[in-house]
Symmetry: C2
Subunit: 116 residues, 2 copies
DNA sequence: TGCATAGCTGCGTACCTGCGCAGGTATCGA
DNA sequence: TCGATACCTGCGCAGGTACGCAGCTATGCA
């Protein structure tokens, strides 16, 4: 196996065989980047609290989320905008109330995995 | 249930009952913060690549990790220092080579969960 | 038609993060 | 002993992030 790209083939390795194994383990970087972005969305305590609340309680309004988490309204709105842009949550407008819910299955899986 | 803290009890809620459910779902913020910190460690594509390589290949030297990921040596060293400080990886010195491995079981679980 | 409410947006600030560069320390071979 | 190697550290820069404040739009009620 010669999995080391040409631009770094001249570097001396401690164990070339294991380097190739590691490259194979890493696989395509695009997939890792996707997961890193996902983790990045969960890497903030406030956003994580919003997601856990939505995941376990079901659809919730923005101001209710603000009360539950102790955040300010605009902060909740901005966090939800970020999550919505990433396709993690979706909001449904009912009159002047917007109720959000988690729609990304991968994120649901992560939430289940960490907070049961 | 009156789970809304006194400092935000005056805010009007859309559905007070669901707010209390959400607060119960969030639970103690310390646990969420711990998980957010964990996710934060996986939220960088390079760090994630290092962890995946270590998880699936086993103990690896710093320069081999640098070759496998295409990172610079100091960047790998700094990333490993961060992960080591968080108790996620541990290094074992053999002569002038330091081989790292993943020691945090929760992180191992996450790595299994996302990249198999 | 007024007015309060629910939510969104723009902007500025303070903070954090990742990386490259230069230089330092420790170990091994000649 | 001398040099090369493997790794670590300090520093500075560029870029990103989260949040508060002020202001906006839209909906519903009296």
């Amino acid at each position: 196996m010669h999995l080391v790209p040409a631009d770094r083939a001249d570097r001396r390795s401690i164990d070339g065989h294991r380097v190739c194994e590691a490259i194979a383990a890493i696989g395509e970087t695009g997939r890792l980047r996707t997961w890193a972005d996902r983790f990045s969305l969960l890497a903030d305590a406030n956003r994580l609290a919003l997601l856990v609340a939505l995941h376990r309680t079901g659809p919730l309004a923005v101001s209710d989320l603000a009360i539950a988490t102790g955040m300010n309204d605009p902060a909740v709105s901005q966090a939800l905008r970020l999550l919505r842009a990433a396709g993690v949550v979706a909001g449904e407008k009912e009159g002047r109330v917007v109720r959000y819910r988690v729609v990304d299955e991968d994120v649901r899986g992560l939430l289940e995995h960490c907070v049961g």
